[in-house]
Symmetry: C6
Subunit: 78 residues, 6 copies
């Protein structure tokens, strides 16, 4: 059904080992960190993770695994 | 079960490379951008993405991957 | 597991090409329009879509694809 | 994994053609009606459906298909 | 992927025919009752069910089937 | 699709028998305890579980099974 199309998940795979920004669903926090691993459900393993609350750097969270269904968006972190 | 019927997802596939408007669930933001890729879960890879808050153009988000389950609707952007 | 039973989704398939009413989860809007296509996840492709807010006709949305998990209910529109 | 156990869904199948009460997630409404069909996702096709708001009989909804993931509970209606 | 590990669901299977306590997602109610059946999605069939609101015994609900995705946690009821 | 990549879930498997911290979706509670078992859906079986509310130690919950979709994140507990 999707052959010949580059899947959205391929974009995320290309971000492994780089810094990403994650928006959490229904939450005013964002999480920024290095993408260690991702799977087909968009479950994310990050390290060097920090919270961003209203654009302000918050707590250091270190290593976290985030469940994909609660992630709104993933983008490269500039 | 669905043979002979054109699937809803086919409509979205037809929008690849065009401008789309995404409504996020439980969120007063919409996202507008160019649809780069979509998969069977309606995960979306967009670029040239901008937020629309209450119909007003908001921040430029550039490239984002949005998880399908948090998307309420996808429509062609006029 | 479900043989011999007419599935709920068959009811929705029977509504293709007719006017339907969709209740969105956690949202005071309903969407009314013509059902173009539906799949096993209850993803919906509608056209001639209009919003109903508190029973009042709202904006015209035209063509939309709605993700099934965010749909509360689908019914024939009288 | 579940052989030898009567599945929860079997309980719901046993309610086909009887009156049931559905609690919707995050919603103070309940829906009461006759269970016409149900599938493995607990998608529900009901008819003769009426809303119950704070225990008071509300609008008649007639025939509705409700998506399983937004259903909190299903019980026999006494 | 999970061989050699005792799955979380096995813990729940071990609770069949005993009293359990269920926390509902985004709801200040808990449900207490006897676990009749459970499946791999953590759909639950309980009987002798009573609501607990703020630790106070509430209504008797009798027999209910609860959809797994709306369950936050399941624990043995002491 | 994901071969050659260490999956996020492998990180969680590595935490079995150690103390973890779980963030619940849309909830100001965190749960801290020993990870007994986890499956591919990130369903979690913990024991010695305690609530953390606003960083304060709350009730002891003992043994709980938490459904994966309602978990926001899992991290090693320092």
């Amino acid at each position: 059904m999707v052959n010949g199309i580059v899947l959205p998940i391929k974009k995320v795979f290309s971000l492994v080992d780089t810094k990403i920004l994650i928006e959490i669903k229904d939450d005013n926090r964002k999480l920024q960190g290095r993408l260690v691993a991702v799977d087909e459900y968009l479950n994310i393993h990050m390290d060097e993770t920090t919270e961003l609350v209203d654009g302000q750097r918050g707590r250091n969270l270190g290593t976290v695994v985030i469940r994909g269904n609660n992630i709104l968006s993933i983008s490269p972190s500039s």
